[in-house]
Amino acid sequence: MLNINNLQVTIQDEKQNIKPILRGVNLSIKPGEVHAIMGPNGSGKSTLANVLAGREDYHVTEGTVALNNEDLLLLEPEERAARGLFLAFQYPTEIPGVNNMYFLRTALNGLRKRKGLPPLDAADFLMLAKSKIKEVGLDETFLHRAVNEGFSGGEKKRNEVLQMMMLEPSFIILDETDSGLDIDALQMVGRCVNSLRAHARMILVVTHYQRLLDYIQPDVVHVMSNGKILRSGDKTLAHELEAKGYGWLEPEVKS
């Protein structure tokens, strides 16, 4: 269960000006639910995703976030990951010289250790990785390359989905995973996310467009603008938005 209550966040820009980004966000996700957050550029959706994951550029000034009744904001990013939080990055980082498979295995075995599970040995891991990489539509050679180095935008996103499939987190945040993807890749993301839908798992899909939601049917759709959630509803809200634009909800917000 995720509970966000009156979350207010600021950021300091290069000129040391303090800018409010989130202005009181309220959101609850129950186990088994898929929520989507839509909104125009600059509305604060990616900030919300990053604040939940613990990125340090942001300053929380008000409000609380509880994941399964634990204060998420007190935890370091790696501790949040250990609680099952996974962020599929909008712009995945390249880590030159670090083997993709080594990275994945270190991450997976680290999480397993925290759960009291024995580490997967190299052979078992390789088998698992090979089956999952097929599902995300990447060639096996990507396992032996450096993390995201020289990957195309689409390949990076597929690599994010691969990590999600391997780590099987209990709270997944997809931060504009659909941006820059072609229709085949979108379908793949949809298939993978749907395969992870489970009664105990929470999924938060942050997206600019409605089209990803053709493949992932959300239980709840939220529309965010100017740092606040303006409206929540079922999936028909997404279609309505697509038809009428963001301006429909708030005249001063440009789509």
């Binding site: 613990g54 790696e78 990275f103 991450a107 680290g110 999480l111």
Partner: protein, 480 residues
Amino acid sequence: MANKLIKEVVNQHYPYGFITQIESDTIPPGLNEEVIHLISSKKNEPAFMLEWRLKAFRHWRTLSPPTWAHIHCEPIDYNEIIYYSAPKSAEAGLKSLDEVDPKLLETYKKLGIPLHEQGRLAGVAVDAVFDSISVATTFKAKLHEAGVIFCPFSEAVQKYPELIEKYLGTVVPYRDNFFAALNSAVFSDGSFVYIPKGVRCPMELSTYFRINTAKSGQFERTLIIAEEDSYVSYLEGCTAPMRDENQLHAAVVELIAFDNAQIKYSTVQNWYPGDEEGRGGIFNFVTKRGHCRGVNSKISWTQIETGSAITWKYPSVILQGDNSIGEFYSVALTNHYQQADTGTKMIHMGKNTRSTIISKGIAAGHGQNTYRGLVRMQPYATHARNYTQCDSLLLSSTCGAHTFPYIEVKNPSARVEHEASTSKIGEDQLFYCRQRGLKIEDAISMIVNGFCKQVFKELPMEFAVEAQKLLEVSLEGSVG
């Protein structure tokens, strides 16, 4: 927050800073012709050696220390330094490993260099140099069978004076530079390697240098000769106790490769770097040069430089033989107030000579890290090629990385490529790793190791893992 954590990770302690309590024969500080006579007589050297030392000394007195490097250090008083110190128990010379003083064995065991011929380093022959002399050499018999000579330099002067006289100073003449002249005058020990024609040295050779006595300098000299069609891989390691005052280490290494010969020389340099405020540490002024004398010969330098308060070092290759190859792979890390000015010189003389330079500089704390490299294509170096890649990684906002490439091309068919990059360790990379559940120290070491991978893969297998660990230790506590 991340910065604070990174700092903690990077500031681990130097684990080799202990002092061995051992009775030593130490001469008083000071440098004059008498001292040189004394060193030479202690080593029972032939006349040519003493003469050479004296010539070097007289030349040295006409020189002043170089000032062009990007380093700051107080002038060194050369009369304050002890030029000879040796454990008494080892001075008389050793017949076998069983005779080695247990205190010395214990010292090397603590340093992770077992001086017996089994166990972890079973495939590596070790020459252990303690202050001014070699205290033990393993696997001498096995190497002898293969025809390989691997012994302390002072022993070589006794047993193979003709080889020493023929080759000493032919790659790095005593006139080369200030520190080479000083070394030539006062050098005490080091290793000598001779690989006969057609022999592939059956094991890794290594020398482990340890400075122990306070105020002493270490001036070792290493000479490796690879005859036609031979191969040798050699590794040196270095550590010193933690002391508040600086100590001087000024070594000279000369490599000679004849037709089709290959020499692979690796260094893991972990001299005491000084404390967090920059007190103490070793001044490491070293001249290393290889000479590809024969056709198709190859010399590779790989260095992992994590120690020393100051490192001044440019392992170079003179590519004289046609089709010869020179390589330089370097990881240099400076933390706290460490300064490194290091790089290489590739002097292309022969046709179709090729050189590769891969330099990875990592700066943390207030560390200053400089790459300085010369690529020179001489008029007869037709179709010579060089590729240089210099990357710097900054782990703090108070450190510095500098690159000074010098390129001189006197042959129109030569090709020189230079690539350079500087990046700050990404908050993005760290966050990405941590989001996947990695602890910050694991994330930093993973990113730094990835950065150095191109160089680590050049190290002999026995030492590649150690080098990674060493980097982790040296990095403890460094971004801010």
